[in-house]
Structure formats: C-alpha cells, structure tokens
Amino acid sequence: MSKILIFAEANPQGLRRSSLELLHFASAAGAEVSVLVTGSHGKDLAADLGKNGAQKVLVAGDAQLDMYQPEAYAATLEAAIQQIKPDVVLGSASALGKDLFPRVAARLDTSVISDGVEIKLAGTQVEVKKPLFSGKCFAQAQFASGKLQMVLMRANQLPLLATPNSKTPEVTELKVPPVDLKAKIKSLIQATGNKMDLTEANIIVSGGRGLKDPKNFSLLEDLAKPLNATVGASRAVVDAGWASHSMQVGQTGKTVAPSLYFAVGISGAIQHLAGMSGSKVVVAINNDPNAPIFQKATYGIVGDLFQILPLLTEEFKTVLNKG
C-alpha cells in the first residue's frame, strides 16, 4: 500500500479547503494517510483531520512554528518524512507550500512537481498533470522510481467527498530541535483588499483598461459582493497603478482556475488569456465585438460596461437573495 504524507495548512476558521482536497484524494485512493500540522493550534485540528481520512496525525506544536519560518519548517517537514517514510508528500501550491517544498526536496535529493491540476496514484507512483506557460499547455509529470515524490496541487482541482472516510487518528507529537534561523520573519503586513487569494477563488471578477479610471474599480467591487467573488485585474491596470500586483491575472501574474470568471473591459491579450484559461465558465463584457476575449468566453455581452455592470450587480442581488 502506498504511504502518503500530507502537509496540512489551516487558517483561523480551520483546515483550508485545499488541504481537505488532498486528504480526500489520498484516502479515496486507498493510501495509508498521515498528516503533518504545525503550530500551537495544530493539535486542535487532529479530530477534524481524522474525520476527513487521516490515519496518523503528527503535531509539530512548537511555538516557533506559529509563524512560517522557512528553515524551521524545512527541519519539521524533513523530520516528519524521516518518521513516516512516505512514498508521496502532498501539499498545496500555496505561498507557503511553494516556498517550503523545494527546499526540503533539495535536502532529500529529489524534486517537486508544482501546480498540479490532476493527480493519479498507480501503485506507489503518482502521475500529475501540470500547466506550463501559465496554462498555454500541459504535461504529465512523473518521478523516477526510488525518488521521494513531492507534489504541490493547486486549490479547487480535486473534488471533496460527500462522505469522507472517517478515522480515529493516532496522534503523535513531533519534536524538532530548535533551528538557528538565518532568515527570520519578523512581522506580517495584512492585506487590505481581497480576503481570498485569486488562486483559490471560486468566482473572479476582473477588470481592465476599459474601466477608464481607477475609481471605477468600485463597480467591480460592487459586483463582487453579492457573488462573494475576488477582484482581479489585467496587467495594463496594474501597471497604471489602479490595482495591486497581487490582483494581476496572466502569464506574469496569477494563474487562476475559478468556476466563473468575468473579464470586464479586458481585450484578451495572449498573456492575459494564459492566466485565466483554466476557468470553467468565462463571461466577457466588452464594447468591441472583435475583442479577442470573446474567442475564449462562454458567454459574451457586447456593450458598454458602465451600463451593464450596475444592472448586473442588481440582478445578482435579487436572484441570489431569492436562493
């Protein structure tokens, strides 16, 4: 049987959905599932991890791990791997996962497959589909046999099970000697705008130069509210300083995969299309019927966004409140 170790991430509300996706995948695949959680709240998550399929939970509860510290986390994940001896280590392609996994992979003389969008387990070997060029193409990635397989999966790619394989997990504490930190995170600067990262968002409303003025971004924020959506932007408006870089979608911004993507006043340049091509349904609103964005859209409205957006916001408010 294949052994999978999952590096789980939580926020104040509990386990992140992206971590649950990994847990459900691993348990549905029939693997022996262990989970590593970090920080002084880690132990509170053990029961929930069990309900979602964890057979073993390693709690690294040291307070040094309450904030992400790359060197301390690397030592912790390494220790968990030494203890569990997994075939596969799974994590989310989050800001933390992407920083941590490569460092540990180098230490253990292996590599990382990052940004996975599909994963299959055959025996002990995984086969992972991953995007290249921000989604302009895809490839199947596989590890050479005998290498520890470290994989980072993108959020919202794997289904959650309606009834997870609930277990009563064996909980053990993972003690890791303190690490001398040469890179030390001193403080956090909280985000001001979006609450959710674009890469995790289920609905995105993105705006481009067609909005004409930075203050018109409020039209998008109004639309985002009833939809519980995250606001994105094209590079043109990020470069103009109307939106922050963390909001940029595209080849030199975020690669996103929501179920619904609105492109408002965005022409559809190849670099923008690359970043949003993983979206399930795309709505384009543009007053130029020949804008390339319409070639990648599911639904198109040819019209003036300044007329359409307020009406659309009202319609969503009405319809979504009715349930």
Partner: protein
Amino acid sequence: MSVFVCIKQVPDTETKIKLNAGSSGIETNGIKWVMNPYDEFAVEEAIKFRDTHPGTQIIAITVGPKARAGEVLRTALAMGADEGVLVDAPENLDPAQTAKILAAAIAQEGAAELILCGKMAIDDQANSVPQMLAENLKLPHTSVISKFSESGGVAEVERDTEAGAKEVVAVTLPAVFAANKGLNTPRYASLPGIMKAKKKVLKELSAATLCPDLTAAVTLSKYSLPAEKPAAQIIPGDPAAQVKALVQKLRDEAKVL
C-alpha cells in the same frame, strides 16, 4: 564582493505554444527567446545593490543550451551586469538538476554575497530553483520578494504571500532571494550598453563537467494543449435583457451560481 544573478532564457510571452511531433515537448522552431520577465527584476536589484556597494561584481549566470542561451547573458550585460557565465546544458532539465548545476557553478566561481533569482520561470513555472539553490549552498532564502534593503550584512525584505499580504523578513547574508514584480522597475539596455555587451567574452562552463552524475528526478511527457472552447454565446438585446439572460444562463445552464 560578488552578486550572482540567475537568469533563464524562456520563450517570449507572445509565443503561441505548439506541440512537437510526438507531443513530447513544445515546438521550439521559430520561438523568440527572451529573458524570463522576473529575472529582469533580479538584474535591476543587483545593479541597485552595486550602486550602494561600490566594487561589487555582478555575475549573470544561465544554465541552458550553448546554441542559444548566451544571448540572454548579453541582455544582462547590456543592462549593466559585469560578467556572464554560460553553463552549457541540455533542454528541459528538472528544477532540481538546474539548482545543482547553479550551486556547483556559483561555488566554483567564488564567494557570493548575494544571489538573486526570479520567483518563477514562466516556461516550467516551477517556483523551485531559488529555494533549491539556497539549500544546496546551505544559505537562507526568501522567495517572492517585492522590497529589498541591506545594512551591515543583514537584508530586510518583504515577501508577498497571499491576497496582497506580506511578511517582513530579516535575512543574514549571504543569501538567495527570488524577485517578484514590484521589487523595482527594470531599466532598458542603453545603446552604449548594448555595444559594450557585444564585445564581452562570456565564460563557458559545462553542466556535464560540473555535475557528472546528474539524473532527472522528474520527467515531463505527454504534452497537451488546453481543450478548444466552443464559440462564445453572444447574448443579444438591450442591456436590461442581456443582464437578465446572462444571469439565468449562469444559474440554469452553466450552473455556476
């Protein structure tokens, strides 16, 4: 004092990706190769560092096929790098291989005070080489930085995490940093810079000599293109009718609400 800047040559972002005959990779014929956009921020930051630390040597280094990869070093030299090191290597290395080769080359070339990379190469989008390189050299790292300053051998940087949040990190040098957009505004190469860069001699190393027993931990195969989307349904009518029809379709047809 040496500052290394790791630069990858990648297809221009305008490139329409096509697959090769056996779908074992992309068709590279006719591709225009450029400097990975994030690496431009790394070069710029190295130049800014040299401005405040006179005597610093900026060494641009790339791992790639000799037949084409030297060009990207000329771009870095034209921007202001002092030296270029071309490590000849085959196409499509896995990030762990690249990081081993870079570590061996940097160790051989001399003590680095600072190593700057981009946060991601836009072709393989691995987001891995800088962290792996740091580990191989037993140095600390910070990835995805959008602010850098240094004083007394300690760097203070800001790392972009999620949804616009940042971490403030103090890092003892020498260290590896991976640049995000926002770190600075990369300069254009000046005409005299371009002329001078043309004349410089690149140092050539070979991956096979630096790392003789290199094997890939990860291989990519069965390349595919995203499924073609059917043509968009253009929704007719006046704005009020368009909006009503769109919402109804999103709910009942696409079922995404």
